[in-house]
Amino acid sequence: MMKHLFRRRAEPEEGSMSLLQESWMRLLSNKGAVAGMVFLTILVLTAICADLIYDYETEVIMQDIPSRLQPPSLKGHLLGTDEYGRDLLARLVHGSRMSLVVSFSSVVLALAVGGTLGAMAGYFGGVIDNIIMRLTDVLLAIPMTLFAIVIVAALGANTTNLTLALGASSIPIFARVVRASVLTVRQAEYVEAARSIGAKHGTVILRHILPNCIGPIIVQFTLRIAQAIYNTAALSFLGMGVQPPAPEWGGLLASGRTYIRDYSYLSIIPGLAIMSTILALNLLGDGLRDALDPRLK
């Protein structure tokens, strides 16, 4: 089956594969990427069903001082309890929801704004390109984490502002990526060919340019989500992100830190959660890059 699908330039048959289908097959043959995808799927499902697994008010927020700081055990709390006696696993599960929502929406925001700017800069060029690129120069000259910190500092620390701050700091990156791929694709002869058969600007952009830019954008999207998870955790760790008692992985890590000497599981476990999520996204991102651009194979 696979052999047949990988065949190139032999006699093609009816119902053959599009580039996207071929990329998908290549992705599926990459063990790391599949592992990443499986992990992320489970994570997203857990986040969606978090309320079914643990009740937010009674199990995630409500304190239970008598059972505080219990180490992980198979009988009681699987991952132990925190300094207020709350189940760590419950807080992790609900924390995943927070991390994912903030990261995902900030990256979507950045893609929407940055992508539009980049596409405009790439397609129209000239003055528009110049203005947009100088703006991104300025934004890129500020270290991203710092930029997010400044925005949160100015607007106040809460989830919405965190999302805005992280989104804003990723805008220039998407603007660059989209512009670069639009520029490459715009030069392709099939774009000229589309114009020569009388296609309008809209048709050219939607049918010919964007579908061919999608590869690098998907890859960047995945990698930016990894970065956003990191930054969400980082800002919460500094106390500038999601505010307690709402659970977030970086926040869990920050509060666990106080007890690191004697209750190290409180800092080890949230960190592992952050790391494995980022790792999964990086694996998927690498796999996507190889699958969408098989030149190096």
């Binding site: 000259a141 500020i142 760790f237 500094l238 990086n282």
Partner: protein
Amino acid sequence: MIRYMIKRLLAMIPVLIGITFLVFMIMQLAPGDPARLILGENASPEEVKELREQMGLEDPVLVQYFRYMVNLCKGDMGKSYITNRLVASEVAARFPYTLKLALVSAAVSILIAIPLGIIAAVKQNTIFDNTCMVLSLVGISMPAFWMALMLVLVFSLRLGWLPVQGANMGWRSYVLPSIAIGFMNMAAIARTTRSSMLETIRQDYVRTAKSKGISNASAILGHAFPNALIPTVTVVGVQLGGLIGGAVLTETVFAWPGLGRLIVQSVNARDVPMILGCMVVMSVSFSVINLVVDLLYGLLDPRVKSMYA
């Protein structure tokens, strides 16, 4: 080359103006009245108004920005709202700590990462390569502040070899912070070196070099590597920039008396002049790094040099 340098230096100016303007404007959105912050809750509205006028806060924002820039050019960044100390001297006292830590960890990570990347590329798909790549993937996925905590847990708390925090124990203070900061950079640089080496090793000019009768090793080090360095330098630049941003976190974990910790403290205290001062210094350093990277391009790639000749 000198013309190129001057050109690049001049190009930095509008970017710096842009950065200060942007940060200045964002900080204007901050709630709370600095005059009230300084005078305390009990001050009368008249006193507050007087201080506001004195501080120039009643002027239009653009005038305030202009005044800030004029002062900045004179080296005056204003006074802290909280401690009333000069921002410039405070920043100057903290900056060397951040810089030293960044340089140490950057130097070590570059020196380790580049050879690793080269060897991994040459020995593609061997155990060595695979191990390096798995480690570096973990490396780029591990949050630096968590790694810092884990290092402290193992080497300071459990083994007691190195200090938990602070910068007052000589070289021993530097070990853990620089590993925590440098590990991710090392991983990222090794990955880039490897992938760009894989690309350049396949280039026609490497084949040409071999066809002249030079050894495989000289073809790789003399021809593939100099070309692979060009994209690697870009990533090194990005990573060094990341060091400055990342300093905020590691300095917090290690209670390191650098700029990163200062900015966190200032944000928590809403000390706007201090935040601005730190941001300016950090962004300038970031721009300087980018400038150095661009100059390196000129050195490494004659095509770039001749564009500005």
